[in-house]
Symmetry: D2
Subunit: 436 residues, 4 copies
């Protein structure tokens, strides 16, 4: 990649996660010599942007790397001629997340940020905004790579693949985290661990887990129930018979599908006591921003780990460095399916291992067929995702109703309709395509 001065724009730069990202950019500066870092946010995020931006500047200064940190509310300025545009936006901010969690719980359905009716509401709000950003990139930086960290990543990536017209890869920290966790279990360096990552964002299984040509599935199965889950998701024991029949390790989010009743019970309990995850995160963020204000602080504070984005920065920097350097290594990303999962549409986004080079992410064929029950679950959830994207793009009530009725975690019928009506009503100002 021949570029005068390597420029990265971070949309949603005022996020509490940003120090994590900045730390990564500093640490990998020798591989990826970024010069201009634009943090951009919207007017409502100005204060957070300033706090985070100031911390970022102190971090860069302390590390003595030649990165210039720019803060702006002008998205076009940030995007103009950028090499990479990282999106980490949250339309409606945390209060919208809390609504996304509370509405489904009112119907005895799972209320979660990315999965089920909550993720559906978030997608309806976010898809049009992401497509606006893509439009800016088309106009102002047509050769830039758009790197999506915005949730629900699978849906967002697919919307950009279908309607965005820009080079686009979606990222999640789940696969890299799983790799770390397994390396620790096996007591080896993470570079020695490998697996096939099968599925779509937040609906994944790891299989063929190995060190060299040694199969370590039995080891992982045996240690799994003792391992910690990701921050967002209650730890509940897997049914070992189910896992062995699947021949795989499910990602944490599959608890919502495989332990629906138990997870719902747990969530409702948590909502009554400490609050929903969104409410907890609001408190964590408040504490983080208090820390960020400290003018002595010039590094990522330890407390950021509670926020849940472990390895987020690592995933981002490894991806952009491999594109930058034409590295041709293998990473796990969200990309266009083509025929990798031949039972999903070719233009769907999937999350699998891919070779990363200067021309993007090239998914690798799976070695074994996908078992029937993985396939069926992926198909129904992907169909829900497709309907959600179409509903969001067109502002179409009927498609939105079809999407929610189809979702396996929504008991259908009157419930779906009433829940949809509440979602639309409570997000009225954030859903202009539905209320035009």
């Amino acid at each position: 990649m021949a570029t005068a001065a390597l420029k990265v724009a971070v949309i949603g730069g005022g996020s509490s996660y940003t120090p994590e990202l900045v730390e990564g950019l500093i640490r990998h500066h020798h591989e990826f010599p970024i010069q201009e870092l634009y943090l951009v946010d919207i007017e409502e995020g100005r204060q957070k942007l300033e706090l985070v931006g100031a911390l970022a500047r102190r971090m860069v200064e302390k590390a003595a790397v030649p990165i210039r940190v720019h803060l702006t509310l002008n998205r076009q300025e940030a995007i103009h001629d950028a090499d990479f545009v990282i999106t980490q936006i949250r339309v409606g901010r945390l209060p919208a997340r809390v609504r996304d969690e509370r509405i489904p719980l009112g119907f005895d359905c799972l209320g979660q940020e990315t999965t089920g009716a909550g993720g559906f509401a978030k997608a309806l709000r976010t898809v049009p905004v992401i497509l606006d950003i893509a439009q800016d990139i088309q106009n102002l930086a047509p050769n830039a790579w758009m790197i999506n960290f915005t949730n629900p990543t699978g849906i967002i990536t697919e919307a950009v693949l279908k309607y965005g017209g820009v080079k686009n890869i979606g990222l999640c920290n789940l696969a890299i985290g799983t790799r770390m966790q397994i390396a620790e279990m096996a007591g080896v360096d993470r570079a020695l661990v490998d697996f096939e990552w099968v599925g779509i964002n937040h609906l994944n299984w790891a299989r063929k887990i190995r060190v060299g040509d040694t199969d370590i599935m039995p080891l992982v199965w045996s240690m799994l129930n003792n391992a910690a889950s990701v921050k967002n998701i209650p730890a509940l024991d897997w049914n070992p018979v189910l896992l062995k029949s699947l021949g795989a390790i499910p990602c944490s989010y599959l608890r919502y599908y495989y332990m629906t009743d138990e997870m719902l019970r747990d969530e409702k309990q948590q909502a009554r006591t400490e609050g929903t995850r969104g409410e907890v995160v609001q408190r964590i963020e408040q504490e983080l921003f208090e820390l960020y204000q400290n003018p002595q602080l010039a590094e990522k504070p330890k407390q950021l780990e509670q926020r849940g984005g472990a390895y987020y920065s690592l995933a981002a920097v490894e991806l952009i460095a491999s594109i930058y350097s034409d590295r041709r290594d293998v990473q796990t990303v969200n990309v266009r399916n083509g025929h990798i999962l031949p039972f999903l549409p070719a233009d769907a986004s999937i999350e699998v291992n891919a070779v990363i080079d200067a021309t993007g992410a090239h998914p690798i064929q799976l070695e074994l067929p996908v078992p029937t029950s993985m396939r069926g679950l992926l198909q129904v959830v992907k169909a829900y995702e497709e309907l959600t994207i179409e509903a969001a793009v067109r502002g179409d009530y009927g498609l939105a109703l079809e999407a929610l009725t189809l979702h396996p975690l929504v008991t259908s019928g009157d419930t779906a309709r009433e829940m949809l009506d509440q979602i639309l009503e409570q997000n009225r100002s954030l859903l202009p395509r539905f209320f035009a």
Copy 2:
């Protein structure tokens, strides 16, 4: 079809439905000149077989058609050199059906004969028996056509397609009934009504409903909510927004998916008052067999209509007559998918329009793509069906658990496991492959 003496064997010949079938064979004798009709049942059904058989003989005699009615408990004798073998068996008889309905209700899940956990239990019991029958046909009548009326027809047909090694078509009366109902709505002869029937057994939609080249979808939509449902299924109003977004009319069984909560509420209420549908049917059957005993009775009694099998006989006779006469007309049947629904496996059974000729049923390509939400639902239910067939054939607990966990009408996790354990326990003597 050149055959010395046209012979039909009816496995499960003691069924209360048989007089319906016999009536059809009599009425269409000019097109399909059957000479030997074997009604076969098992020892436990001997009494019913004798009652039904005697009635059948009186019917034939009254109609003065040259059909010889044979009653036997020897399946091989019935199958030997048959031209058509019709299966209408119920492994475990009605008490098993009642268990299939009661177990899921105990977990707040739908309890139904063919859909959900009830249909799953019925499939586990039935698949091995049907494959035994297919084996007999292979040995004793390799050129015979197996016509499956046995529920769950889609699963049973697919099991025979995959493992049976005989010529095999599955039948349901839902499509022919829908045609009748729409003809009545439109006030035209049923021969003038046509539609595309999309889906798999008991998970179907009718679209492109027309008389000649006149689209009558609007008429049907407007009249639909006033129309009666099939006997087995409570009538609940469809959401017109959903139907129009789908662009189709769902079959009655789709109420289980589109109105899950309401249907469950209804079913539980019914189970508490008049009993489950199986319990109601037990009473209906008792009354029917009392009628059948009447030596004056020489025709199908009117009360058989309550049993729910309207047009069953018509469907059966039209199918076998078209095969017999190489008629090349279009009927709705359960057949191997191939690529008609390109998003389902090629070896799946589907239920669609097909040309019927002397070499069997040849499905017709759909005119329009299947909408996303139909596709997603079909895919997840078909995956459940595939897992169920494999579990039944191998007696595999893990696959059975995967099947039940995947089913959209089973809240997963502990529930699925506990429900499975109850199903296995309560059907122990009927599931030899699981308890070998």
Copy 3:
């Protein structure tokens, strides 16, 4: 089909074939009560149109059927509000055909009207004209059915499917002729004969040839080499080992692929003696038009049979009558592939059995997989056809070169390039998209 006055337009109405068509319309008037028959031609065809039109009027009068025959050079007038538009055009007329035959022979390649480089040249000339006609139909008779008899029918039909935007079915008399021929061989009524017709236009195989459920392939194989070929194609003996390995009967045009050397030798010999087929046809046409002039003639003259279009009229009338009457019978037509031949693109035209009803032609799934060598030949020729359509639509030299280089009957390299250059040069005035 509810229409005030049934109107049919025949584009290329001055063709010598028209009396054949008119005879069919008269004979089937009870099933298909056409009232307005428009014969339209271009200025250069005025004289032929008048001769043929006068004969058509005498035929109608003699038969005493209420068909009004209109002659016009105004295509829009003919198409306006038509129910069916039949195309049977020949862009460049017979002199262009003779060039199509002579150019390839100069390179020791087959020179034939529809197959090889000759068909390629004809397609380049014809595709844009057919799309103009389709445009007129869109504007003036958007509900009309376009019935293509224009060669190369497969390419023409596919071009309209891809770019025409009108309801469109392609027809060839080969399948109906084969049915007739086999019925005669088997000594039965043609309604009793059935087979699967596999392939694309002029590249077909018949298999599963049967009477009822009796396989008559052995009979057909044994009689085949004695049977007459179609008029256009020299009769050469098939290799029985090849046919049995294929498990099918190839159509006559497959001689060009299976006996390439022998056919070429034969063609060159014929070109030297009696002239190419186009030259022979020119003489036949001259004789026919002399007959047509006879004011006493009020029926199709026997000599028309030499022209080669046996059953052309029967095929056309059966198709339009089935659409008109929503007959739902099975006919062999050129339609969109979808997934009937899953190894060809979904938007390709194929020629197979289809159910014909008021909404068009619905192809029927094949019973058995297509053998490897049929598949390979179909794939390469279809790829050639796709390239030819794209080249014709865009006037793209590179694609035209790719098409001709790929064709199995064109020895590639310098030959393909030189032949292409000659074709373009000799058709300059007829290929405006290449010389814009």
Copy 4:
């Protein structure tokens, strides 16, 4: 790969190519510390084996690497517990190759070792022998990797994938050679050059040729016609219009398809003067073996380059070293298609870029669809290959006739049949499955 003592068996170890391979094993010994090298040949090759083996030992000794070179005529001994089995056999040796070249020339068809009727004859002889070797591996070294260098590599690899039951990768030096050639054109290190390699063995195109994210297709097109071809194939100029329309660089073997006439003329000329390539190679080999006899020679002689196997050793050692070390780099190999080329059968062998790790070769999805004319050619040649494999495995004359009739480089009809008969007759002792 945890193995006591790394063992490699080379079947056909007496080949004149072996010193090339041995040189590679020596040079890369630090990455791939082979300990036991078994060179195995058949009785007829004993003398060559001894000469080559002695040279190999001198090379190893001179390089002072701890490789033990074993010479044997006992294939089972060589294979037993091997980690890698490299096949480089030539059934019937060079005299059979010369016959493969001479027979087609007698029919004015291309006579070439791997392409056309020559490759067909070689495949018929070789497939059964390769499957015997695979059987030995199954029995004696079930975890071993079979690395096929045996031509026609695509067919051989596919035969093993379908019938061999062992881990198997096919190799050709064409892609690595192209990479070298382009690096030289572009004046950069070969590690910086990348492209998509599309197709099947000896029927490939390179596209997306780039250095980093800079497209260098224009450079390559401009330099192409000056570049040398591979040793086996006469250099003829490409048509630049064709190449640009294809958007790719064809491999040298595509000259047989794109310049059929010219290549045939050239070949016939060469056959008359210096002899066929096989005859030339016989002379080269003689000279090589004379050199190999020299007890002073302890390195690969320069003259081996004339033999045509440039980079053969590099390709082999890079592949086995990446498997051994779980390197996860990208190499070009022959593997099972799956859905990488979605228009070819899933169980076909294809030649594309793949990630190489300890579990084998995992092909990478192509970025862009394959253009129509590449697709058509690949499909017809792959269909020919499938037929050839089936014919070879079953010894089936009809399938062999279908294969040869379908091949684009064989003018069909009597020619194909007569050529097949000559091939069978002249290889009678080497084709036991056809003469059982």
